[in-house]
Each structure stands twice: as C-alpha cells, then as structure tokens.
Amino acid sequence: MDLTFVILVEMLYAVASLVLISAGLAVVFGMMKVINLAHGEFMMMGGYVTITAVGLGVNVFIAMLVIAPIVVGFIGLLVERLVIRHLYGRLVDTMLATWGLSLVFIGLATMIFGNTTTGISTPIPGFTVGNYQINGYNFFIIIVSVVLVIGMYAVLRGTRAGLIARGAMQRADMAAALGYSPDRIYLATFFAGSALAGLAGAVLAPLVGLVPTSGGAYIAKAFITVIAGGPALIAGLVSSATSFGLVSQIFTFAISPVIGEVALLVAAVILLRAMPLGITGRFFRGKL
C-alpha cells in the first residue's frame, strides 16, 4: 500500500518534471516553429538566477517563482530582438544560431559562476508515508506543473491576448491585416517561452548539482516530448509527458534507471514511427 503510493508519487513527479522542462520549448517551437537549441541553457540560467538570488538573501520561493522567470524572460527578449527575429521562417538557420547562443551562454556562465558544481538545498522537508520517506519537493514540482498547464490553458483559451497569439501563429498575415503586429506577438511569445524555461530551471535547481553545461541534460528530453506531442500545444505536451513519464518510471522500478532511460527513447521511436505527426496528430485533433 505504502509502496503503491510512493510509486504513484514518483510517476506523477516524472510526468510533472517532463511537462515542466518541455513547456517553454512547446511554446517557442509549437507556436512559433523556432527550434531553440538554447532551451537547456535558458533553464540553466534560471537555476543560476535562483541560486544567486538566494545567496543575496531573497526568499527561495520568490527567487524560483518570480525572479528567475522574469530575468530569463528578459534575456529571451534580448535574444529575440538581436537574433531570432531576423531568422523567422528559416528553420535550419535558427537551429545554427541558437546552438551558437547555447555555447555563448555556457561560456558566459562559466566566466561568471565558474565551471564548478553549485546548488541549493531543497526548501521543503521530506516526509513519511508508512515505512517510506518521500521527497516533499516532489509534490511542489507536481503542483507547479499542474498550475502551469492550467494557467497556459486559461491564457490561450480565455484571454484576448491568447486568442491573438494563436491567430498570429496560424496566419500571421491575417493577424497583421486585422491590425495586430506579428512582430510584437512573436516578441511576447518568445518572452513567455523563455520565462517558462527559466521557471523550469529554477524549480529543478534544488534537486540537481548545477554546472554551466547542465542544460544539455534537458534538451533532448524536452525535444522528444514536444515533437512526440504533436501539433496541439497543451494536449500534446500533457499526453506525451504522461506516456514517457509512465514508461520510464515503470521500467526504472521494474529493472533499473538505465533501462528506464532506454525505455523512454525506445518508446519515442516507436511512437513517432506509429504516429509521425505526434500523439495529437492522431488523437485530440483540433484541441489546444
């Protein structure tokens, strides 16, 4: 009984962390069709912003949930103005440019923070379930990602800004004809995507040892999740994160963590072979 609960929490946590690391990429790639290879570095910067802010005496939750997304969002804003906006519609060029950016960010972080592992401890104590101890922070991550998904849905579905953004992504020329500047909309969307990446990096920072090259560990998983999710932004994100999270955790518990990682990749290959357009290319069509 206790074990069932523990495994359940670990599975939910695995799904939640996949949602978290992929959300920013889903916005930037899913909505703007920009392949941001520096996504992992945006996360890394979110982590460093948090650690720096905590070091300056800021409350850790404010640092993670407010300061990191805003700071990384503004870095994203700069990147969009200086680089990305010149490359809209040129898929391969954006890949090359953002890959270069990721190297620049790694270099800058190395210069500022040094190429050594840093970190902060988790702000939430562990607690007991029957005979087991669970990391209390897992629940925090689950809650953050649930709130995040609901928030994204509410903004895209329920607000005028969300409607305009979705419209501009489908037909930029039509949105422009109706008086909305696609340039501004792309800027805002890229800001949102970067802020989400910053948030993810910040929230995950207490769980990992952070180095300037930490971003590389996330980028592959984020891309697999977003691409397997398919065209629908939120339904795709949630459905593919759920599939991969469950598969990897089942194999992790049944066999070993290495097999869990392998199972995730095998599942991705099979899934994309069976559904080349992603999960939402076949199911949940027309959903958000």
């Binding site: 523990v6 946590y13 592992t117 087991y132 990391n135 769980l207 040892g209 518990f253």
Partner: protein, 407 residues
C-alpha cells in the same frame, strides 16, 4: 641608401627569424618537458582544476630548488575538457610532437585507459595520480592513488559497524564504478554482511527520485555510493531532501575527492562516511606548510583535495626518481623508482611499491562534519594488496594488463 618596401620586408623577416628562433632552440634543449593532461573544464573540472594547480605548485617548487639535473622543468599542459575523445588526441600530441619526457595526468579511469597504451607504445613514462579501482599492471606506469584494498577494505567494516549488515550499492556506470562495486560486494560478504541491491548510473543521470524509493523497498542499513562527477552530486542532495539521511547510513568511495563536502550544505553532508589518503583537516606540519604555499601561489585559494594531493605526490616522487637515477632517460628513472623511493607529502609518507608500481600510503577513515572531513581513525602505511595479489612486475616486467577482481 634607398629603402624600398621589398628590401624592408626581406630585412625585417630575416631579423625576426634570427631573433625568434635562436633563444627558443637553446631553451628547448635545456628544459625537461613534463606533459600534463587534465580536465580543466567541463563536468569533471572540480577534480581537474586543483590537479592542474597542484602540478604548477610542484613544478615551481622543483624549479625553485634548482630544477632537475641542473635543468628547468617546463609544463606542457592540455585541457581535455572532460571529453574522453580529446585524451587520445592530446596523448598523441604529447608523445609524438612535443616529445615530452614524462606524462602526469588522466582523471577518470576511462581516460587513463584511453592514454595508457599510447604512453607504453611510445616509451613515455606515465604517472596516473588518482584514487581508482586497482589492478593496473604496467611497468611503464606509476600510480599513487588509493586502491580498493587500501580504501574499501577499511571503509566497509567501519561503515557497517556504524549501521548494519544489509548494504545497497549505487555506482557510476563505467569501469571505475563497475569494478569498485564488485570490490564492495566482496568486502561486505567477508564482513558477514549481505548486498541487497546494486544499481549503476550513466555519468549524466541527475534524477534519483525513483532510485531512492527503490532503495527503501530493499530496506538496507547502509548505502555505499561510488558515484562520480557533478550530475551524480544530485543524489546526495535528493537523498537528504527525502529525509533519508537519518534513516539509512551513507558512505562513499568518491564523495569529497573533488571537495564535494564543501558544495553540499552541512545538513546534506553531515555524517557521510569516507576513507581517503588526504583531508585538508590533517594536522601535520607538511600539510600546514602545503596549504600555505598553495594559498600564496593562488591568491588565498584553498581548493586542494585528495587527487590534487595525489598529483602533487606523484610529481615529487617522479622528481626523486630523476634525482636518484641522475638521468631523465625512461629506464634509469623506472629502475630508480623501483628502489622503493619515498617522499613526505601533505598526505603523509608515500612509498613506491616496486612489485606493482602502486603506492604504500596512509588512509584515514573520515566523516563529513560541517563541510569538513573529520578524521575518525588513521590507518598508517597501507599496502595495495589487491594489486599485489595479481601483479608482480619484478617477475613479469612485460605484463600489461588491468586485472579485475574475480569471485
């Protein structure tokens, strides 16, 4: 005299060539070239940077004392950036182009095995100065890091005595972790214990949530973790965050080697059991002097750690060998080192074991306390008996194997 452009260029080029070439040729004949090949950046830089500093410190000391054989020692260093592929490339560069007289370096066992064959093939004397899984038997190679018989054999009974008989092993998934895990199993069984689980992790794994749950289902008394590098540090954080620290005891064969105890908070680190040759807290005159010299050379820095000190020991051992041989040639130096040369370093007395080319040295059982390694017990002058059991270079000088433990 009319000065046209062509004449000016020709004259300038000639002047530059003479000015630039002459002194360099003279210098190259004079210096002894020491190859250093270390990860000074990337995820393993916490190990490599202080090792590089130790190299600079040791070489500056050797040169300040008049060099070797009246010649200055010059470091030819390469940063392998935590990339195993660069090791083979720079090993070729050092041995075939730079023609160095000796190579000190390599950090992960994977990197050592990438360059050791090149050193042997090109007859370049090689020092590997890192704690490792034991068993390398190669007359061209000298190793002065602690081996499992020096470390694990002492750590396992101590940690089991502090906790209990059921042990769970979490190890890095490459040659070091795989072989060390087998050694741990052997010593756990010899001490009447039982290994209830073993898991291996690739070096980039940083999420240990499910592992921590899985460890609890096996309900061990003790977890021993030969985990390596920055990503694996997350395990110790997540272990503390789950509140496991007060429920199951924790020991490691690697944590602290890169000063990880200074990165973890006291709440995360306190009570973790380790065993090494060096701790900054060692209260010996040699260590106090060493820390002062280090701080003086690197603007107050205090990042020296286990394997940086091993590197420092290795360099001074080699220098002793050269002095004794009165030559920089490979075979005379090897033969001089095989006379059981000893040095006194910050980690105590270190003696070359002629039979295995490993080191006889002190090992300290320690516990993390408030970001320091507190010495619990000192085990003086331990022999590398694991490697001695399989390797005898006096009898088989042509041996070139890494022996692995067998059950």
């Amino acid at each position: 005299m009319a000065l046209n452009r062509r004449r000016l260029l020709a004259g300038g080029a000639a002047a530059l060539t003479t000015a630039g070439l002459l002194p360099r040729v003279a210098l190259a004949a004079d210096t002894i070239k020491l190859g250093a090949i270390l990860d000074k950046s990337g995820p393993f830089d916490a190990y490599g940077k202080p090792m590089d500093m130790a190299t600079q410190l040791a070489v500056s000391e050797i040169n300040a004392a008049g060099g070797l054989l009246g010649r200055e020692v010059e470091i030819v260093g390469y940063d392998t950036q935590s990339d195993m592929a660069l090791y083979s490339q720079y090993a070729q560069q050092l041995t075939r182009q730079d023609n160095v007289d000796v190579v000190h370096g390599g950090i992960l066992s994977a990197s050592r095995e990438a360059i050791r064959p090149t050193m042997r093939k090109t007859n370049t004397l090689y020092f590997y100065n890192v704690l490792y899984e034991g068993g390398v038997c190669d007359r061209n190679t000298f190793i002065n890091g602690v081996t499992p018989a020096q470390q694990v054999e002492a750590l396992v009974p101590y940690a089991m005595g502090q906790s209990g008989k059921k042990v769970y092993i979490l190890a890095a998934d490459y040659n070091y972790g795989q072989i060390t895990a087998r050694w741990i199993e052997k010593f756990v069984k010899e001490n009447g214990g039982e290994v209830v689980g073993v898991d291996f992790f690739p070096l980039d794994v940083s999420d240990f949530g499910s592992t921590i749950a899985k460890v609890q289902t096996a309900a061990p008394d003790l977890v021993i973790a030969p985990l390596v590098g920055g990503a694996h540090l997350s395990f110790f954080r997540q272990w503390a965050a789950a509140g496991m620290k007060d429920r199951i005891a924790l020991a490691s064969t690697t944590l602290g080697v890169g000063n990880e105890h200074k990165v973890l908070t006291p709440e995360e680190g306190n009570g973790i059991m380790v065993a090494y040759n060096y701790s900054q807290e060692l209260d010996t005159p040699e260590n106090v002097a060493f820390k002062e010299k280090w701080a003086e050379m690197f603007d107050g820095d205090q990042s020296m750690h286990e394997i940086a000190v091993s590197q420092y020991h290795g360099l001074h051992t080699w220098a002793e060998g050269v002095r004794k041989a009165d030559s920089i040639e490979r075979m005379p130096v090897i033969e001089a080192l095989e006379t059981s040369i000893s040095i006194e370093g910050p980690g105590g007395k270190v003696t070359v074991d002629p039979q295995t080319h490993h080191a006889v040295l002190d090992v300290h059982l320690m516990e993390f306390q408030d970001q320091a390694m507190r010495v619990v017990e000192t085990l003086p002058q331990r022999e590398p008996i694991d490697t001695q059991a399989v390797c005898d270079l006096a009898a088989n000088p042509d041996d070139n194997t890494q022996y692995e433990i067998e059950f």
